[in-house]
């Protein structure tokens, strides 16, 4: 796929001849489309926890300023894949990564890549809202401070809260604890915190699964908006959610295989694989 580096190139799903043959790439998911100048590209990515292999030869190209959804049944490796993008897996002692995962063409697993610097480019939002037990303001400012972006903190905090659609609700209580907010507000606070230092990519691991419907729909709206400025990769167990908000969808199935990766519409309306179809129509999971 290095041939792709040349420049923008529109590649549609129909260009099937562009695919490597099945024999060459057994694990390549069905219908993997080339993506124009992908921000993140994974090639033959295997992830192991100790002796257990959690991901098998994942190939994926994640497009810029789009929402890419990862769906699949519990334990299929969605979170694992997400964490391998910004090397959060480094923090899990037994986790081991093989293959390549590149960010703007640079393999993030190269020795000269500092994972801390990497994570400053790729923000992350987690399943359970996890604000620090600090004030709302300090929560948002934390990343700025850590990353040494300390001038104009005030302004940056406000901007981030604004973008996370939270400013109106908390403007006059910036000093109160982040833990005093409702679950949905907390999650938006975490999003504000993640975007405050202005990363390029935002990874979200089931950001709405712990929230009620109203809060969920707010987060969904937010995700769509964020895609105007950021590349968003989102894990969700809710297929309707994936259908609603994402441009691309990757379906992982049990055992850590990426079974299908394509435009969201395609996946939901006319998946290549029967297993994906079964999964999407709720035959299991």
């Amino acid at each position: 796929m290095t041939a792709n580096a040349g420049g923008p190139r529109t590649v549609s799903k129909s260009e099937t001849d562009d695919f490597r043959s099945e024999t060459e790439q057994e694990d390549a998911p069905l219908g993997t489309p080339r993506v124009a100048d992908p921000v993140i590209e994974s090639r033959d990515l295997d992830v192991y926890y100790g002796d257990e292999q959690a991901l098998h030869g994942i190939h994926m190209e994640i497009p810029e300023r789009k929402v890419t959804a990862l769906i699949g049944p519990s334990g299929c490796g969605k979170s694992t894949f997400l964490r391998s993008i910004n090397r959060m897996n480094d923090l899990i002692e037994i986790a081991r990564v093989d293959g390549e995962l590149s960010f703007h063409g640079k393999n993030v697993y190269d020795d000269d890549v500092d994972p801390v610097a990497l994570r400053r480019k790729i923000g992350m939002v987690f399943q359970k809202p996890n604000p620090f037990p600090k004030s709302i303001y300090d929560n948002v400012a934390y990343g700025l401070r850590v990353q040494g972006k300390a001038d104009d903190v005030d302004e940056q905090v406000h901007t981030a809260l604004e973008r996370a659609a939270l400013l109106d609700e908390v403007e006059d209580q910036l000093d109160s604890s982040g833990l005093d907010l409702s679950g949905g507000q907390q999650q938006r606070l975490c999003i504000a915190r993640a975007i405050a230092p202005d990363p390029e990519v935002i990874l979200m691991d089931e950001p709405a699964s712990a929230l009620d419907p109203v809060a969920t729909s707010k987060i969904e709206d937010l995700v769509e908006e964020l895609a105007e400025e950021y590349t968003v990769v989102i894990v969700t167990h809710n297929m309707q959610q994936a259908a609603r908000i994402s441009d691309k969808t990757a379906v992982f199935l049990t055992g850590g295989h990426l079974v299908e990766f394509d435009d969201t519409n395609k996946i939901f309306e006319n998946p290549e694989s029967d297993r994906v179809e079964d999964y999407i129509t709720g035959k299991f999971g």
Partner: protein, 309 residues
């Protein structure tokens, strides 16, 4: 099955429910066990107050609380408890200066950096320090710590507050390190992940996320450790001396409240004399001091619970 029958099977039919009587009896037995602790406190207060009342019939409370000379046996007699309180404070503050930084750093190391295997061994090993009989610390101070101090500060006498504070400090390190480590491990990984996700280094995660998040638990551990230091007896009796005085020089001998109590407890003063009664007054004062420390720690802990849900 008819409805009446059904109903009969789930109702008590006027009688008591399944094993209800037995359950009630068992509940009372357990309750009495819990009550023992309340009786213990009552007992302590009664015993201390009874002795103190006799003491305060002869000594004015004002003199006791504000006087700066303590010599209930040596003439001219004076009954100002402040030198004993001072001695206790010196030991407490001194041991805190040792145990708090060392214990906290140990806790951070164990919780954030050490391999789980290492933690599994080191934590209980350190806890042994808190379990070693304090009388052993007393001898350790005299035979090991004091000579070292004397090497550096040659004028130091055999008994000195510093040696007492150091051994008590060593003894309470594990209270700080274990309880703080518990508090730090209780910080959800979510928070660590959040910080890593923002591009924080491990150092920043430890010091700027974990420590602040566990602060109330950590502080509660300090207070518990300090209240142990206040109540510490044999080590300070042996190491810090029996000279009630208000001095800021840590290389001078002092006397703590507990050391005074041991002294009277095994002394030749006649029971019923004012010297003997002073034992209860000092005991009551000590009880009041640890009580207030414990109330503070309870208060902090209740805040701590709130914060985590």
């Amino acid at each position: 099955m008819s409805q009446a029958e059904e109903t009969a099977e789930i109702t008590t039919g006027g009688a008591r429910g399944i094993d209800d009587r037995k359950n009630a009896a068992i509940r009372y037995v357990f309750f009495s066990c819990a009550l023992v602790t309340v009786l213990t406190t009552l007992g302590i207060i009664l015993v201390l107050i009874q002795g103190s009342v006799e003491f305060f019939q002869q000594v004015s409370i004002l003199e006791y609380l504000t006087g700066t000379e303590w010599s209930p046996v040596i003439r001219p007699r004076s009954y100002g408890v402040l030198p004993l309180v001072w001695g206790t404070l010196i030991i407490t503050v001194g041991s805190a200066l040792i145990a708090i930084p060392i214990g906290t750093a140990t806790a951070i190391y164990l919780s954030e950096y050490a391999d789980p295997q290492v933690r599994k061994i080191v934590k209980p090993t350190l806890e042994i320090l808190a379990g070693i009989p304090t009388i052993v610390y007393g001898f350790f101070a005299l035979s090991f710590i004091t000579p070292i101090i004397q090497y550096f500060v040659p004028d130091t006498g055999t008994f000195n507050a510093a040696a007492g504070a150091i051994v008590v400090g060593i003894m309470i390190i594990p209270m700080v390190s274990s309880l703080s480590e518990d508090a730090m491990s209780a910080v959800p990984d979510d928070l660590r992940n959040a910080a890593y996700g923002l591009g924080a280094t491990k150092f920043e995660v430890s010091t700027r996320v974990v420590v602040p998040a566990s602060l109330s638990g950590v502080i509660a551990s300090y207070i518990l450790a300090l209240s142990r230091a206040i109540g510490e007896t044999m080590a300070v009796t042996l190491a810090a001396g029996m000279s009630p005085q208000i001095t800021t020089d840590p290389f001078e001998p002092i006397q703590t409240m507990t050391a005074y109590m041991v002294q009277i407890g095994i002394s030749d003063v006649s029971v019923g004399s004012i010297g003997y009664q002073s034992l209860f007054a000092v005991g009551l004062t000590l009880f009041a001091m640890t009580l207030s420390m414990n109330l503070i720690s309870l208060w902090i802990k209740s805040r701590y619970r709130e914060e985590y849900q």
